[in-house]
Symmetry: C2
Subunit: 273 residues, 2 copies
């Protein structure tokens, strides 16, 4: 309209023609709106024939419901697409119970793992004191990493091809965060012993070193597992958000115990165990 009257239509610069396919999933459609800042987009059939339009207010609802599903999965339950209030009690219970049971079966492995280390705990009960601290630190760092990657994937900020770059970055993050928590953990053990608040025995320093090294190992593993699991899930065609915070935490709990008691055996082996 604002072009010179002599200009040919073909010469007019226009924004690219963006269309969505009638067979598209909801997510790529929402992505097209986000990317091109449009209010409405034409919907076309496979051959390119226009079928109608889809407007952004429909897309807003779609995005909201997709995001709700993602958030539910990150929180460790099956996606619920009805409001909390109007969802029947039993439906809600089933959506929560299913994943809770799966996670519980995974967590049962911690009881098996702990069984393997029964003699170590009998000989040095002090080792049991730091089990919740160590496995939860791994779970928390894993939950952070998984959340970051799942959201970045949902917003198309990173794709499958980025896995190697993400992996290197997350290993560096894990080592740094682990060293930081490990230092606090070491200080805690040494300080409490010095202040006489607790008695970790003659080998308090070795206990402190075991706790510190375990934290570095577990936090690094947690960060790595949390960041790579979404890639793995997407690679095999599943929703990356399935690698929920509780799922990663469960994975890291079992591995964390093995890391902790492995390091304990190496550090304390000659003395206490």
């Amino acid at each position: 309209m604002r072009a010179e009257p002599e200009a040919r239509i073909g010469d007019l610069e226009d924004r690219p023609v963006v269309t969505v396919l009638a067979t598209d999933d909801r997510e790529p459609m929402a992505e097209a709106f986000r990317k091109y800042d449009r209010i409405a987009l034409p919907v076309v059939a496979e051959g390119g024939r226009m079928l109608g339009i889809v407007t952004i207010d429909d897309v807003l609802d779609v995005i909201q419901s997709e995001t709700t599903e993602d958030i539910h999965r990150i929180g460790g339950l099956e996606a619920i697409d009805t409001p909390y209030d109007t969802t029947p009690f039993l439906t809600l219970l089933k959506k929560r119970g299913t994943w809770l049971s799966v996670l519980f079966l995974g967590e049962l492995l911690t009881a098996t793992a702990m069984g393997r280390f029964e003699h170590e705990i009998e000989r040095a009960v002090v080792l049991a004191m730091f089990i919740p601290l160590i496995i939860s630190s791994g779970g928390n760092s894993g939950s952070q990493a998984a959340t970051l990657i799942i959201r970045a994937m949902a917003l198309s900020e990173i794709t499958l091809a980025d896995w190697w770059r993400v992996m290197r970055r997350e290993i560096a993050s894990g080592l740094t965060l682990g060293a930081w928590l490990g230092t606090i953990g070491l200080a805690r053990v040494v300080l409490w012993q010095r202040l006489g608040w607790v008695d970790y025995g003659h080998h308090a320093w070795l206990v402190a070193i075991t706790v510190c090294l375990s934290l570095i190992g577990v936090v690094t593993f947690g960060t790595l597992a949390g960041s790579m699991l979404p890639f793995l899930l997407r690679r095999v065609g599943l929703d990356p958000a399935t690698s929920s915070a509780p799922f990663v935490a469960t994975l890291v709990d079992v591995t964390g115990l093995v890391i902790y008691f492995g390091i304990a055996a190496a550090v304390l082996g000659g003395t206490v165990l």
Copy 2:
């Protein structure tokens, strides 16, 4: 346009006039678009004078960024408003490290709590075997409840006034889910003992009952804490999403240990401890 020519303008039915205030926060603005399905809304000053319009494509971006912040908080890290790829390594590290440190300091209380139960563990090492299983079940159910409530609050499905109804519903959920996991836990202890895979001692049945009751208690507490914490945070003017999965898990870890060893003392007190 399609009305009878004789009709007066004042008689024409129209959709209600929805406006947003120039001083509104981003969230109520987004909410207005969601609720009234509009493409654009007039922006008015306090007195009602129109200042301009805001279009839905801007709102789409706002909603996306608000949701990303919520998701990050639920995952247990400070909200990051730049893409994963372009956020400098140190910024990312700081946003994760801050919350990770806070959670770690909270988790240090588990080491203190465990110290109180050292004698119980010395006398019945078998109690240590189920610590990760029990505290993580509480964390998982708490994470589910917190996620459900945070999202329902963000979508205005529930408000502060609903806390009592939500509480009753969540206690019922917690008891049911706890009883379910408790039954699996009980079966696991008894079955493994019967099959001769492990030896939980002469008091295997008491151990099984301790595990079962603890799971009921911890899952109920986790569900209750996870669902009420978002209300509490909103009540004191904080973002409900701060009650992240890791935050709830940390809270439940410490309480879970107390519940577990309390029940163990009651059930096993006369025999093993």
